[in-house]
Subunit: 461 residues, 2 copies
């Protein structure tokens, strides 16, 4: 068992050393978003330590991306392994010159984590890239079906695409949802709808945006209204697919809209999306960049839905410590080599880390732990919500592991109070506090977390 | 000095072990583009060894991305360093929670390599991403100038951008050149014009494509025609900027069009682009993903131009072993935090490798070596071109280090012959043989390379 750590705050946050360090950095690298500067050597498990010596219980986890704790022993062993050294110093172009170990690393790592029914993979380096690669796979499949299997590209298609013109560069759309976040590349950003700060001034494709259900809480008191809201959104999705000015090749959806405010929908809603996408020949992409790798108390967020058939594509990043997409249908591999391709196609070094993450999660049963700890934590937060009904609103994430959130009238102020009490925690949406602990959070951390909430809420009351 | 190695071919290429290994991989990961499967542990310096035991002199270098040789000692030391272990296992969200070491690693690594006048950096994970980030910086700057410094975003801008509509999502263009390659994301791919296999079936922005000079060789016999050709292209660029249906916020150009066939232009042409972009307020982005890091005998390809003022942005990847962009103008940092942002903002582990690459290049003076070896190699290839004028055409890259290319009527057949003689070499464009050795190629490797060319050309004659 690791030594029992406690949070400890010695300075204002950020402290003077953090501030000076960030200021120096800012002369060469934009540091306006720096929360504090970190001493990673002193950070351990669930605790992050800053350069002023403050120690925080970290339930933000590098924007929901640290899976199994700082300085995890298994990850350190993987980082020191000969295969890692080789991957770092002999960076392969994985499409042209893979090593024999590439297959083994995929089989023993990421593919052990593959969603049911999706046993093929394309690797990438970020969630944005993974989503855009998924869009491209869906679009090439859409046109392949239109063209007919084995039908050759026409000379007009070949020449027009080089000029960004039809028919080679067709109008094809990806449908996404209001308040979604799918990344910041020009394609993924066209699907992102969460905040102007992400999108303003950047050209975007004319792609459809469907409403995402706005559920009312508590769920058990609003069943009928929420069912009607989800039916409304499903009808809007179908209407957009049927009437959009160009074909909708793909639909992308998050199991929980994470940057957009931790917005949930029911399994029935997602089953409805699966039915509609099947009916209209639309590739269903589930963006599990933030929800994947155990964060919701199941390995994949979409496992909560019990779909009648799996999604066509599932994208991942963050806790995977690498990125990419899983798929099952072999026709999502384009008709020719080099169509879905780039120099590195991911990073074998990061895929080796990912293998260690998968091993750690499976061997320590961390998904079950996340589910179990999340249940306890949810109950505690429900009690807080009863005690502070005006400051802890719309508590959500029951049965979703530690993927818990609530709204608060002045969320930034609450974040600041929490930091001053040694809890590093983040926001999303307009006024939502989101919990994004690592999978190794234990029951023993809950009293600390709850006490910090109690005291912070009291200070703000 | 390293042991003297020689190429050695024991089997057909790919050999039986490579074929079996690629076939197994293909069940989970598209392996149709695999040239051969590699034993990286046995690869060393300029030589790559496959799983059948064949050893090749590698002048393709993982699609021009290996800078200082396989299993380089300095890179191995960096890979084993405590800072590397920490960066691998505690992957930071560099915009929110950098370590104090992040500044040091940038200062002692990438920033030592920064082009003159461009002392700021934004890090990324691929050339595609670097280019798209550069586009976004240029677009945000364009709109900032339009809006006026310090003028707040309007409510209409904020709401319309979430719907991908004007004025928040404006029509702004990036001008690129025919035959260029800038990557495969939806924005970067809209600037790529090299091959249909990259672009077909993928929607693209309606952005302008200017002609890139088609120079005639040998240069010294075609000076007047080439000057006229470059003037024609510059006039077309200005016409596009002045008449395009929307503002051209940025222009992106490669110092040598690398995927598109190793197409060169003169310093005067690039100075002309610098003048036009200045005149029209267009951000000039030089894409040095393939030409950067010493490959042309200077650290950056654009240093050959002696510009009167530096490019606004220079992007890099490949030999850097990481990616990003350099810039000088502080207004290319957007007006608010979080506009240019993502979870990881690159990968500190790869930036640590990059630091070792920079150290190796500078301490061993490898850029000068590349220039020197390239001059010798060019002379040898000029002799080959005289001997085989119908098979070695349009030799180019004189004075550009080892960045040398020529056209050949059946380039794929020549590549195959070269492989069978133990030289791993690549193509670009339609029928171009491109040399992309590492910076550590020495004069002593040239006879081997030339003998393989001689014998291959003879076999095909």
């Amino acid at each position: 068992m690791p030594a029992v750590l406690e949070q400890s705050v010695l300075t204002a946050i950020p402290g003077p050393v953090s501030k000076a360090s960030a200021k120096k950095l800012d002369s060469v690298f934009d540091s306006r978003a720096v929360h504090f500067v970190v001493d990673y050597d002193k950070s351990e498990g669930n605790y992050i330590v800053d350069v002023d010596g403050n120690r925080f219980l970290d339930v933000y986890s590098q924007i929901a991306s640290i899976p199994v704790g700082y300085n995890n022993a298994r990850l350190i062993a993987a980082a020191k392994s000969p295969e890692m050294i080789s991957a770092l110093v002999n960076r392969p172009a994985l499409g042209n010159f893979p090593s024999a170990q590439w297959y083994d690393v995929l089989r023993d790592g990421l593919l052990r984590a593959a969603p049911k029914g999706l046993d093929r993979i394309f690797t990438a380096q970020s969630g944005s890239e993974a989503n855009e690669l998924a869009f491209k796979a869906a679009m090439m499949l859409y046109r392949r079906r239109q063209r007919g299997e084995g039908v050759a590209w026409t000379a007009e298609e070949v020449s027009s695409c080089l000029n960004n013109a039809k028919p080679g560069s067709p109008d094809l759309a990806v449908l996404s949802f209001a308040r979604s976040f799918h990344g910041r590349g020009f394609g993924s950003l066209s699907c992102t709808r969460s905040k102007a700060v992400h999108k303003l001034d950047i050209p975007a494709f004319n792609w459809p945006q469907a409403p995402f259900p706005s559920l009312q809480y508590p769920l058990e008191q609003n069943e009928e209204a929420n069912r009607a809201e989800e039916a409304r959104c499903l009808a809007a999705v179908e209407e957009l697919i049927k009437t959009w000015h160009c074909p909708v090749a793909a639909l992308i959806v998050e199991p929980i809209q994470s940057e957009g405010g931790d917005n949930h929908a029911s399994p029935a809603f997602f089953q409805g999306l699966r039915d509609l996408t099947k009916k209209h020949g639309v590739t269903m992409i589930v963006d599990e960049v933030q929800t994947g790798f155990g964060a919701t108390g199941l390995f994949w967020g979409h496992e909560h839905w019990n779909l009648t058939s799996p999604p066509d594509i599932v994208t991942f990043s963050k806790k995977a410590q690498t990125a990419g997409y899983f798929f099952g249908d072999a026709t999502l591999v384009p008709d020719q080599a080099y169509r879905q391709f780039n120099t590195w196609i991911g990073d074998m070094a990061r895929v080796i880390v990912s293998k260690a993450v998968v091993e750690e999660i499976l061997e320590k049963d961390l998904v079950a732990q996340c589910a179990r700890v999340g249940d306890v934590l949810y109950k505690e937060l429900a009690a807080l919500s009863s005690r502070w009904p005006e400051q802890v609103l719309n508590l959500r994430g029951k049965g979703q592991g530690t993927y818990i959130a609530f709204d608060s009238p002045d969320a930034p102020a609450l974040i600041k109070e929490m930091k001053s009490r040694g809890v590093n925690i983040g926001m999303c949406g307009a006024n939502t506090i989101r919990l994004r602990p690592m999978l190794i959070l234990e029951e023993s951390h809950i009293p600390t977390l709850v006490a910090a909430f109690q005291s912070s809420l009291k200070a703000l009351a």
